[in-house]
């Protein structure tokens, strides 16, 4: 009796973000998975499509005073303040373990100026084991009065060009959702040479403690993430996928395979799981398995078949 015949074959989960090939479309979102070591006992890291590490700056940053996080309805606010060990210690202390993960390693970078981003890209290009850079443009441009790079198309374009010039690594630009027209931002970045887009970063939110009349975050405002923002993220991914031709990584409130599939259908080539790593550390592996199950149920042999597969019209 050949049992193998009744077991449906494993669907092909491979996807490519331009030059960056992934074993499957499921990555972890920056700032929600540390430097991967934190989850090594809970997740088989080599099963992941990729890990995006916590945002790295040129110099170490202490971050904001506490409280830094606050739970909201089906979401959370964070104002970590971009705490990180800085690029030097990242390379010396964090990269050795990251090289052993057995999956794609993407380094998220952030800066106060275009020069910062360029310098980071230069530094990191020489480091073995880094597969791509993800440029976080939701940071304030100190030279332009603190307006976020990600809210003005010319600034976002300039950062993209500067980073591309300094590196041969694939460059993913991560968009901020706090804009009137996400398509304008996406086009500006795509035309400036980005290899792929990540969206979305957090929405800007706030919480207040009625009893004490104080803000819930020491920083007053913070980034809203989690299932609460999924509908906004999905809409933006769909709008951008309909407008630009470079691949998109969908991010925002993804916690289940169904969530991930919705983003793929909307046109994302891959997804990142963020806040869900906190409430369910097993989320990423469950999502990978769930996508495979879905493809089998739907009679699809490859995940490619569903990317952008949203059915419109009657």
């Amino acid at each position: 009796m050949d049992n193998a015949m009744t077991i449906p074959s494993q669907p092909d989960l491979r996807v490519a973000l331009g030059p960056l090939a992934l074993a499957n479309p499921v990555m972890t979102a920056s700032g929600t998975f540390g430097y991967a070591a934190e989850f090594a006992n809970l997740v088989r890291l080599n099963r992941l499509g990729g890990v995006v590490v916590k945002g790295i700056s040129l110099e170490p940053r202490a971050g904001n005073p506490p409280p830094r996080i606050f739970e909201t309805a089906a979401g959370m606010l964070n104002a970590i303040g971009l705490e990180n060990v800085g690029v030097k210690r990242f390379i010396s202390d964090k990269m050795p373990h990251l090289r052993t993960c057995g999956c794609r390693i993407v380094v998220n970078i952030l800066g106060d100026s275009i020069d910062d981003y360029a310098a980071l890209a230069g530094h990191l290009s020489a480091v073995a084991g880094i597969d791509a850079l993800e440029v976080n443009i939701s940071c304030p441009n100190v030279k332009k009065g603190g307006v976020a790079f990600g809210t003005a198309p010319e600034m976002a374009a300039a950062v993209t060009r500067a980073v591309k010039q300094e590196t041969d690594l694939p460059v993913i630009v991560k968009l901020s959702p706090n804009v009137t027209d996400i398509v304008v931002m996406a086009r500006a970045v795509a035309e400036s040479g980005a290899d792929a887009l990540s969206l979305i970063n957090t929405l800007i939110g706030m919480g207040i403690d009625a009893r004490t009349r104080r803000p819930r975050l020491a920083n007053v405002i913070g980034g809203l993430s989690g299932p609460a923002i999924k509908p906004v993220a999905l809409r933006m991914v769909w709008q951008v996928a309909s407008a630009v031709s470079i691949p998109i990584i969908g991010i925002g409130g993804i916690g289940t395979a169904e969530d991930a599939i919705e983003f793929l259908l909307a046109g994302a080539t891959a997804v990142q799981v963020g806040t869900a790593n906190f409430y369910n550390p097993g989320a990423t592996e469950q999502i990978i398995d769930g996508i495979a199950d879905y493809l089998r149920q739907q009679g699809e042999s490859s995940v490619q078949a569903i990317i952008g597969g949203l059915r419109l019209g009657a």
Binding site: G31, T32, F33, G34, E38, F39, N41, L42, K54, A62, G63, N64, P65, P66, P67, R68, I69, F70, E71, A73, A74, G75, M76, N78, I80, E83, G226, P227, G255, T275, N277, F278, Y279, N280, P281, G282
Partner: protein, 261 residues
């Protein structure tokens, strides 16, 4: 000590006082490795609201895989935990964080309110390993006797010397438990404390001037419990932030900045 995501089975839930519940769980992976002062991140419901797990200290473990938590209802998450019933499952992540560093010698354990919960596990370990003896002082305080009595149970049978205080005077001394500490300090090698922040600050200050080692178990809002989100920052004495879930929750008192909060 690897962390586990473990679907534990609720063996029983007991109401110890109007707002305090004890959950006995079957969680062999976590119970098998937990150390005093460590905690678990507990999923309080099955829906997306509340979203995040809640940090709860390990109250007691047994060799047969049983694990106890003591939970005080203060908000929605702990309310949902108090409504759980025997037979249901509870998703735990643990054991997490750095617990108490046990060392031999004359010690005091100081607990306030629900902060008493992790101290029973500590007292058991100290007494059972012989690192502490009948000289072990346990100073426990709470609002009222109703709150304090169930939390204070268990220490005396271990052979510790227990002293109690309540804010309303309904059990033990009327006043703050920290008032009882100075009298003991000259005879102590180490003090372990878990309770409200002002209480820990007071104990840390007393120990610092008496040059007695002091370990404190801090609280912070936590999202991951794994050192990944960097949400649980607490200011250290060196001007840098520590992460309560990973560097703590138990810290040497002198590592932390006590004035800036």
């Amino acid at each position: 000590m690897p962390e586990h995501q473990e679907k534990s089975i609720v063996l029983s839930i007991e109401r110890l006082s109007p707002s305090v519940y004890r959950l006995t769980l079957h969680a062999p992976l976590i119970a098998g490795e937990a150390r005093p002062g460590q905690f678990a991140m507990v999923a309080c419901g099955s829906t997306l609201d509340p979203l995040l797990r809640r940090p709860i200290s390990i109250h007691q473990c047994s060799g047969d895989g049983r694990l106890q938590l003591v939970v005080k209802v203060v908000g929605r998450g702990t309310q949902l935990l108090s409504e759980i019933r025997a037979g249901q499952t509870l998703d735990l992540l643990g054991p997490l964080g750095r617990g108490f560093r046990l060392s031999p010698g004359p010690v005091a354990l100081i607990g306030g309110g629900i902060g008493i919960a992790p101290l029973l596990f500590l007292a058991q370990s100290l007494m059972q390993t012989g690192q502490a003896d009948a000289s072990c002082r346990v100073l426990l305080g709470a609002q009222s006797g109703e709150d304090l009595a169930p939390l204070a149970a268990g220490f005396e049978t271990l052979g510790c010397h227990v002293e109690l205080a309540t804010d309303d005077g309904s059990l033990g001394r009327h006043g703050l438990i920290t008032d009882l500490l100075p009298a003991h300090l000259p005879n102590l090698g180490k003090v372990y404390v878990c309770g409200p922040h002002p209480m820990m600050a007071a104990v840390a200050a007393l120990c610092a001037s008496a040059q007695v080692d002091c370990e404190v178990s801090l609280e912070a809002h936590m999202a991951c419990g794994l050192g990944a989100c960097l949400g649980c920052a607490a200011p250290g004495a060196d001007g840098r932030y520590k992460h309560v879930c990973k560097h703590g929750p138990v810290f040497k008192a002198e590592e932390m900045a006590w004035t800036t909060r």
